[in-house]
């Protein structure tokens, strides 16, 4: 299926080009992520032991919120200018095109979050031994956030108050990822064996990869109806 792969490559390149030309869109969630995490020491006081205890949860919750903030970029622009309906009418499975768009979204949102997280970990006094776990857990978890978010974004496409609504739909679904993502980092600090956390995060990723694009594609078709 060379045609099919060409289509994926073309769409991926298109999405990345558009995003890079609107670099503020890409930077906003990242800056938001940094600001939210930086607010906690200000609110709680700079006691290192306190910060260390809450660091995994704070960084993970901030990652959740930052991803959610970026979700409207996923389909909304394409919906407004009609590109999305052209996509739905292209002779390629919409599921795969959606997956491609999610991949582009993750490269521009999830990946930067993963890359910047060690910096925030230092800020929050996270021990160095937990750094690798933090990065790895985010690396496994953020794609799940993008995938589930795609379903929410597709469902709320073109609705009034879509931005707030998407948080209502998506945040409850994010809880398992939060529990095991933050749990893994906290587990390393506490010296617990965290293999199970990673297996479960990987399982969530597999589940989301198989089901979410399908649901998002169905939701897109409904939104375009």
């Amino acid at each position: 299926m060379p045609n099919f792969l060409k289509a994926i490559g073309c769409l991926l390149r298109r999405d990345l080009t558009v995003a890079l030309r609107r670099s503020t869109d890409v930077l906003t969630p990242l800056v938001f992520f940094i600001i939210v995490v930086s607010l906690f020491p200000l609110g709680l006081g700079p006691e290192p032991s306190v910060l260390r205890t809450i660091a995994p949860g704070v960084i993970w919750v901030a990652a959740l919120l930052a991803t959610m903030l970026s979700l409207n970029r996923l389909f909304a622009n394409d919906h407004a200018d009609g590109t999305l309906e052209q996509m739905a009418l292209s002779p390629h499975p919409l599921t795969v095109l959606v997956l491609t768009k999610v991949a582009a979204h993750w490269m521009l949102t999830g990946l930067p979050l993963v890359l910047i997280s060690p910096l925030l970990a230092v800020q929050m006094n996270l021990p160095e031994s937990a750094m690798g776990t933090l990065v790895l857990s985010l690396l496994l978890g953020t794609p799940v956030l993008s995938l589930l978010g795609a379903v929410g974004a597709a469902l709320t496409l073109g609705l009034r108050g879509g931005g707030v609504l998407v948080s209502l739909l998506v945040l409850p679904l994010y809880t398992p990822v939060l529990i095991f993502g933050a749990g893994a980092v906290a587990g390393v600090i506490a010296g617990i064996d965290i293999e199970a956390h990673f297996s479960l995060l990987a399982a969530f990723l597999a589940l989301a990869l198989t089901l979410a694009p399908w649901a998002a594609a169905a939701a897109l078709r409904v939104s375009l109806d």
Binding site: L168, P176, I179, L207, V222
Partner: protein, 245 residues
Amino acid sequence: MQYMHKYASPKFFYTLAGKLTPWMAALTAVLLVAGLYLGLFVAPVDFQQGESYRIMFIHVPAAWMSMFIYVCMAGAGAIALVWNVKLFEMFAGNCAPVGASFTFLALVTGSLWGKPMWGAWWAWDARLTSELILFFLYIGYMALEASIDDPRRAARASAILALVGVVNIPVIHFSVEWWNTLHQPASVGKVGTPSIHPSMLAPLLLMSLGFTFYFFTVALMRMRNEILERERHTTWVAQLLESKS
């Protein structure tokens, strides 16, 4: 499929539901009264929790209902999506407020039960926490449905959400349970399910059955309203209203 379309025609269903509702309501009343009688008067005092355990006869059926209704909602949504049947769309949409109110009931009674048992109104107990997330899922479903103007589009979009939710509920439930065993402080005892005595099981089952029939009664009533409203362009609704006035 042909049968489904015949019985699923709004006109036919409207009359059928109208005939069924009083019977279901009566059955609900009988079941609930019997359940209450057995639960409040017959069932013996629990030797560990005293009389407070009688909250269970509300709390546990309500919690069961909250999950049962969500599954019904997702199932009806799936049928509506696949076969494009209007009635199932309406059923799914009308499940949500009833389900959400049972979830709310389960949460508050859980809290009322928790206060004498744990000494606190709220504890991050696994079952209460997953019930809370279920409540959020219901709210999200209703918010999505309310913000789409076209009723058929709203039904299809929220059906997809319900299906995503139904896949997620076991995952969420298991995650919260696991998280809870890891973090649970020793002082908080579980509101337990010790081996349940038949004299307690009977009212529990009766109450659950009563709630189930109550749910179907209310859902039918809601559906009848919606059918009238959405079929207002048809002649049968005009005739029906004319004959009534």
